[in-house]
Symmetry: C3
């Protein structure tokens, strides 16, 4: 355990939250309900959307229902990045502005979403999450073609500087 | 204050700099003066530029004047990411190559620019800013439609490994 | 050395790997060999590809040969971001799934590739690289016009929490 200031125990985050992320991709006509938009179309290179990039402002809820109150918003982008199968990459911010939390959590990493679970890095935070670092585990909770998908995000902070 | 190696005091950064960021968006004819370019157009979803993405190489100055000597450059991208109002997201690097500093500071986060101030994460650094982490506070200093905006960036480092 | 939990010695990473990154840009017909795709074309602002954005899934090898077994994959994006000369910016993940390592390393930063070497930030890691931070030094190893380039990536971790 070199170069580390202390031991970090993977099974003992200093804070943990499980939230659901809902993405409704704009299809050209559903502006009222859509939460994300394609900004770059996929490449002709193959059939797994390689290169398609999406910008999103997606609600985060405490249970899995799309219409539950949003306790935070996920703002950022993802893109597909594999020739021979589905695979994605994300960079985004969880924005909290409620009576419970005010602040942001910044996240980036690979999302090989054909795998049952996959981990991304929490690279920083602000406000109530000042200077945080950690891991987010993604799990696909629902997938409806090109229209809607829901991710269960298990947010584990391992550096906590605010109570 | 668990999982932390020491206490970090939000009002006691180990280093602090206030710099001004100037963005002059290319309009198709002002190549000599422009510092940034649109790489993806906004979506038809609504009227707040949702999805518009810009790549920039913007000068950073010590005072608020656009033509002051640049003490660093900000290189990266931003995009607009809200349906019902203006909102943005940034990821970029501050590149220093002067007699005072040689190195880079890497930054990402949400920029809800209708708010008076907003915080982004300093996620790493190189050279004179080796392994830094911190917070940047943005404040809009000037906004001229689609043409020019200036941000005051209050750069606060809380991990400093070089003198 | 304030705000730091310990001293980090730039010449004493807790882990170090040198790997080669190979990028073969899709030209419209070489789908079988290409590893990356243009998702946004360069701006008309000047002649140095300002604004061109590429998404990649590039092999990482232990020696410099393109066809050596890939010990990891680099998944992410880069773009060109300078008006008056070549310059780039990267954000990506090194994905390891071998008998030696399972996990990811997340990286972002400026790539002024006309310079002999340049440093980017390792901002986080997962799996065998749980919560890592560090520096990657890029060096151009081969450059064949628009078709192929190879980078030597010297990966230095300064925070290591797994043996």
């Amino acid at each position: 355990l070199t170069g580390a200031r202390t031991t970090l125990k993977e099974n003992e985050p200093c804070k943990r939250m499980v939230l659901y992320y809902h993405d409704v991709l704009f299809n050209g006509t559903d502006a009222a309900n859509a939460t994300s938009v394609i900004i770059a179309n996929h490449s002709a290179i193959s059939n797994f959307e390689f290169g398609m990039m999406v910008v999103f402002d997606d609600p985060m809820t405490e249970d899995s229902r799309l219409l539950s109150p949003a306790v935070a918003r996920a703002q950022g982008f993802y893109f597909y990045d594999k020739k021979d199968n589905y695979n994605a990459w994300f960079a985004y911010t969880l924005v909290f502005n409620s009576s419970e939390y005010k602040g942001t959590i910044n996240i980036m990493g690979a999302d090989p979403f054909l795998e049952k679970t996959r981990d991304l890095s929490i690279v920083g935070g602000t406000g109530d999450f000042f200077m945080t670092r950690g891991i987010v585990t993604f799990q696909t909770d629902e997938l409806q073609g090109d229209f809607y998908f829901r991710l269960k995000m298990d947010i584990k902070l391992y550096e906590c500087y605010k109570k």
